[in-house]
Amino acid sequence: MSTLRACYQLALANGRVTATDRKGRLIICVGYLLGMWLLYWLWRGLYLNDPSRAGLDFATALTHVATAQTLFAIITTPADWRLAREIRSGEVASQLTQPMNLALRHGAMALGAVAAKALYMLPAFALFLWWAGLNLAPSSWPVALASLVCSFVLLFCLAFIVGLAGFLATDLWGIIASKDAVVQFLGGALIPLAFFPPAAQTLLHVLPFAHFFNTPVAYLTGQLHGPESLLIQACWALAFMLFAHLASLQVQRKLVVFGA
């Protein structure tokens, strides 16, 4: 109970920090809408001479990509940057003198940031859907939301594990940029996985990649109905949580914090 209360306080605090910057919020929303507008015209161009590509019509493909990009903007948290910075600065020393698991602490903070970003970005997303004449039609909202939660867990755990590399490497820019690129491309955030060869699609669905974005988006847009993909996604989420926990323990065992 006390752990839950602590998580709530951390999530609330980080949510407030994320949401307080009014000018930053405005710039992000304007930039986001501009990006969506460009995305619309890009996909419109792709479908100009062909009403169907990879079995998807223009509206379905655009809804998929726009939703995936919105998810990327909302549920991807800078937990990797934050953790790496705290490790390099030695700030992690203060956190280790508090009675909370490092992964749980960062997870709660990431959740707060995601909730805050959702509050100001979802209206912009709704505005874009209205302007482009698109809509989300999940066959089951609970399943779609569960898939979103799993997606958050997967992305957070990955970011946390990458952030732990701050104990080993000085500059994580290359690692984090590569991770974001792989997660977006193989996760179906840049283009729907339906555009990939069938064998690659099967492989990406069995591996965790499809479950970063493609699975929750497919549930949200009504492309997926059954619970099979959600079950695979949930299994991967559990595996990632376990791996993040073990990595955290291993790294803390080898921990060295230099200086005062």
Binding site: S2, R5, A6, Y8, Q9, L10, A13, R16, V17, T20, G90, E91, A93, S94, L96, T97, Q98, P99, M100, N101, R253, L255, V256, V257, G259, A260
Partner: protein
């Protein structure tokens, strides 16, 4: 003993770079390491309610020792027990019993008001509301915490922030508090206020305090006992009074004379006690010893027109400086 450290060692290993390309590739497979002993065979015990200063020059191993005591670092060998806990093994349960201030790190939230940071800490440490209010009351009353209670941490002065850090470390009524350079960068008034608060909590609540500081004022005003560490080794463990007696070049009488100082020096040197006599600027100094009591000394120097006479003792800062210097010379000679 509330804190017990037995034969603590901490060795840092760092890879040795190869000199040639061949060596560099070979070291990728079979690396060679250099080892630095940051802490070497340090043992001490601290009883409940004590306020102890852990001092030493930069790089002596103070912070490494504190980190091992707080569970952040695992000792390479040796054993630590604080309040019945193994700090590394039982870290999450253990940290509920300790408070920690690292002078150059913060446990507060930069962008949030002070009160929000404290509420987060209250939730993290599961502090009951009554304890929370009680612990804060002293800092509100004596520290003036209310003046900046609603201000974001980023807008606080260094002194105000440190006051908050110290208040935060006492928030969960810990049994022991580790203060690593808590007054670094503070002005005289703020230092005095901080020391007063720490002293009061140590005295009234019986909270054990282990403080590291380069500020002699912190050591003199707060601690009754000194742990002096140098080159990773514990060089002194005892009371401040004992340190003053055993370190430095002793106690002297200093006399300012109107007459011939050389003749006075010769006279004192010829005294049967055989005490050391020296010139120090305008002063003639003679070692203080019961074999030459003050009345006899005054009688001896009377022909030389005594203008002034005073006891001379080295300040703690001078004593510590001499101690550190001796350590450096010793290390150079050993090398």
């Amino acid at each position: 003993m509330l804190i017990q450290a037995d034969a603590l060692n901490r060795v840092y290993r760092s890879p040795l770079p190869g000199q040639s390309w061949g060596e560099r590739f070979a070291r990728l497979v079979r690396p060679k390491w250099s080892e630095t002993h940051s802490v070497r065979d340090v043992s001490f015990g601290i009883a409940r309610g004590e306020c102890v200063a852990l001092v030493g020059p930069n790089g002596a191993g103070k912070s490494t020792t504190i980190k091992m005591l707080t569970g952040i670092l695992a000792p390479s060998s040796g054993r630590v027990s604080v309040a019945g806990f193994d700090p590394q093994r039982d870290r999450r349960a253990y940290v509920k019993h300790i408070g920690v201030v690292f002078g150059q790190r913060s446990q507060l939230w930069w962008d949030l008001p002070v009160q929000d940071s404290f509420r987060i800490l209250q939730a993290l440490f599961a502090v009951p509301e009554a304890t929370y209010q009680q612990q804060l009351s002293l800092f509100r009353r004596e520290g003036g915490l209310d003046e900046f209670w609603l201000r974001p941490v980023r807008t606080l002065s260094l002194g105000q922030r440190m006051l908050c850090e110290i208040a935060a470390s006492f928030l969960h009524a810990p049994e022991v508090v580790f203060l690593d350079e808590p007054t670094i960068g503070l002005d005289l008034e703020m230092k005095a206020r901080m020391r007063g608060l720490i002293r009061q909590i140590n005295r009234d609540a019986g909270t054990t305090v282990l403080i590291t500081s380069h500020d002699v004022g912190d050591i003199e005003k707060l601690s009754q006992r000194l742990l002096l560490i140098d080159h990773g080794q514990l060089k002194f463990d005892g009371s401040l009074a004992h340190f003053r007696q055993s370190a430095g070049d002793g106690h002297w009488w200093a006399a300012k004379l109107g007459g011939d100082r050389d003749a006075a020096q010769a006279l004192l040197a010829a005294h049967p006690a055989g005490l050391a006599v020296r010139h120090n600027g305008d002063w003639l100094e003679v070692a203080r010893d019961e074999r030459l009591p003050l009345p006899e000394l005054l009688q001896l120097l009377a022909p030389f027109a005594i203008h002034d006479i005073k006891p001379v003792e080295q300040s703690l800062e001078e004593l510590l400086h001499g101690f550190y210097l001796a350590g450096k010379v010793g290390a150079r000679e050993a090398a």
